[in-house]
Subunit: 337 residues, 2 copies
DNA sequence: TCAAGATACGTAATCGATTAAGCATAGTTT
DNA sequence: AAACTATGCTTAATCGATTACGTATCTTGA
């Protein structure tokens, strides 16, 4: 490997001079700079990130904490898609991405320790149990963090607009004439809580009465549980005319159950999903859903983290709400008149 | 941050002694070792991976090259699922994962340079254009690599058993009585070539004649193109009785087209996918497909790479073929009798 | 002409960890 | 008693890059 030492020998100058020349310091002569840069290029010099990190205490490396209780991890399109855009933005700004986990090899360490161990400059946290003490330790530390879909005091977070999303969905199905609207929701998380609150609030503002049995618990990304919840709803004497599902994947379980019972979509029952993943737009009928802007979320998260790393003084914690977009498909029937 | 220096001061020994005590060298007294280890634990000492990397030339960090021409990148479940298991195995063996890309920040570098820059001990390469000169430079270098679904001479690769998979599918639909079998395949890659060869070979061995217009080109992960190819096949005077699709996601386009034309599955047309992603098992009807064992592929790739890193002498390049499993769903009708 | 300032570069310490080589001390051997 | 060995620890160099500080040379102005 070509190092600064090699260049210094070839150019007959000290290593300090080479370093300064390559980093654009002003106390080096123009000729010397030109000579050194040329030599560096010719010799195929590459800076050694490790040495730089050791000396400067900055690694230009961002940790990503992606852990999922449900073990579907990265295969959840919502997360993989955020990860993808996060990676692009981080790289654009000169940062690499490293996954942070517990227990690396023989070493048992928590997230904070792993982050320090690798000298990551900051961490983006997603998809975990935010009540995990290890997560709390990390966000309480001196390490800059950005959380996704969860707010910690004094920390920056990027949030999908669950309030607005749910409200948009409810308003839309209301506009389509529905008054008996059921909501099958995912497991208890802050995201779920927001959607629930928004669901109730929006219904109330529209003057819709929601019997409590219209709100059914299920799991995210789990068609089976959504299917069961759907069955519950179908057995009611006052069946809803429209069902909102936890997400676009779990809605499949609901649609299967409806088909099994001979209830056709959207003639006999309207349904809507959440997420707006690719799948939702190729299924037939095309899903009416609320598309979360994962691209913007990943981008914002990376951008804000880099800001927090590079301008720790001027950068205040903030909550960034990324709004999405209602995708009007063919699963909600207009029942006006 | 607690360093070896801090421990050495507290214990009244040299830094060398601390390092050796923590690393289990034999030339340190048992009492001293015990005292140092206790102090390290009490003080919350964590080794600094950066310093270690610099000194030892080993980072315990694996690069992952995941680039997709189609820009769906990580959101492709096949890859995200491999990545997930690869990550788990690498971490179990004490390695972290870092993404390798071109052009990090201002720096424009190729994959090889990025890998050196970060001191990655090895790279797992997937989902890229394997004819890219930058990829070729990387696999031709001294850096250990493992490629996924592509063979380079003198390099270890982990391959999904596309030959066996296609053969299993064809044999299965044959057993179900089908003789007019069409194959819609993805864009031209080595994976596609293997499936094509296996398709023709298996058909030949079964004595099935395959008119060339039964083999239609489309794209992976693209329901639209599969839909178009399906339309072609349906317009034939000698329609096939069964269509094989590029993957479980693109088959949706085909199924939609069939539905549009009033062709019901599997009564009027049998179909089969490829991949065995989660979706395939929740769709209705459940897809008959060939499940690729992404979990094993990721695990093997990580395991082999770590071997190549840690035993460069004894570790020979090899091709590891990971076989999958036919998932019998409800989309292929038994038309015997 | 000479001191002050500017310019251009070098010296050496530093980041944290590792390790070859060296050196006491105590114990063993002949 | 002299020579040797084993044990246990220290010294100092090293990995590659950065930078505060020092210094030599040249310019400039009075």
């Amino acid at each position: 490997m070509i190092t600064i030492k090699d260049i210094s020998e070839r150019c007959g100058v000290s290593r300090a001079t080479v370093s300064k020349a390559l980093n654009g310091h002003t106390d080096i002569g123009a000729d010397t700079i030109a000579q050194i840069r040329r030599a560096a290029k010719e010799m195929g010099y590459l800076p050694n990130a490790t040495a730089r990190t050791l000396k400067l205490g900055r690694s230009h490396n961002i940790g990503v904490l992606f852990v999922d209780k449900t073990a579907c991890g990265l295969t959840h399109e919502y997360f993989s898609s955020i990860l993808d855009s996060l990676k692009v933005e981080a790289e654009r700004r000169g940062y690499d991405i490293t996954f942070i986990s517990k227990d690396i090899g023989e070493f048992s360490m928590d997230y904070y320790e792993h982050t320090k161990y690798r000298n990551c400059d900051g961490v983006i946290i997603a998809s975990v149990d935010f009540s995990d003490p290890a997560v709390i330790r990390l966000v309480s530390s001196e390490i800059p963090t950005v959380t996704l879909d969860f707010i910690f005091d004094n920390r920056t977070s990027v949030l999908s607009d669950n309030i607005g999303g749910m409200s948009a969905l409810v308003n839309y199905v209301y506009k389509m004439g529905h008054r008996r609207i059921a909501f099958i929701h995912g497991e208890d998380t802050s995201v779920t809580q927001k959607r629930l609150i928004s669901f109730h609030k929006t219904c109330a503002s529209l003057g819709i009465h929601v019997p409590e049995y219209y709100v059914q618990p299920a799991l995210y990304h789990d068609p089976k549980s959504s299917g069961l919840a759907t069955r519950e709803l179908l057995s009611l004497p006052d069946r809803p005319t429209c069902i909102l599902y936890p997400d676009d994947f779990s809605i499949i379980g609901g649609m299967n159950e409806l088909e099994r019972q001979g209830v056709s979509i959207p003639e006999d029952m309207s349904v809507a999903g959440y997420d707006g993943i690719l799948l939702s737009q190729v299924l037939h009928p095309r899903l009416t859903t609320y598309r979360q802007d994962t691209e913007a979320m990943g981008r914002e998260a990376a951008a804000k983290l880099v800001e927090a790393i590079e301008q720790p003084k001027t950068c205040l914690p903030q909550q960034i709400v990324v709004s999405g977009q209602l995708l009007e498909g063919d699963t909600v029937k207009d029942i006006n008149n």
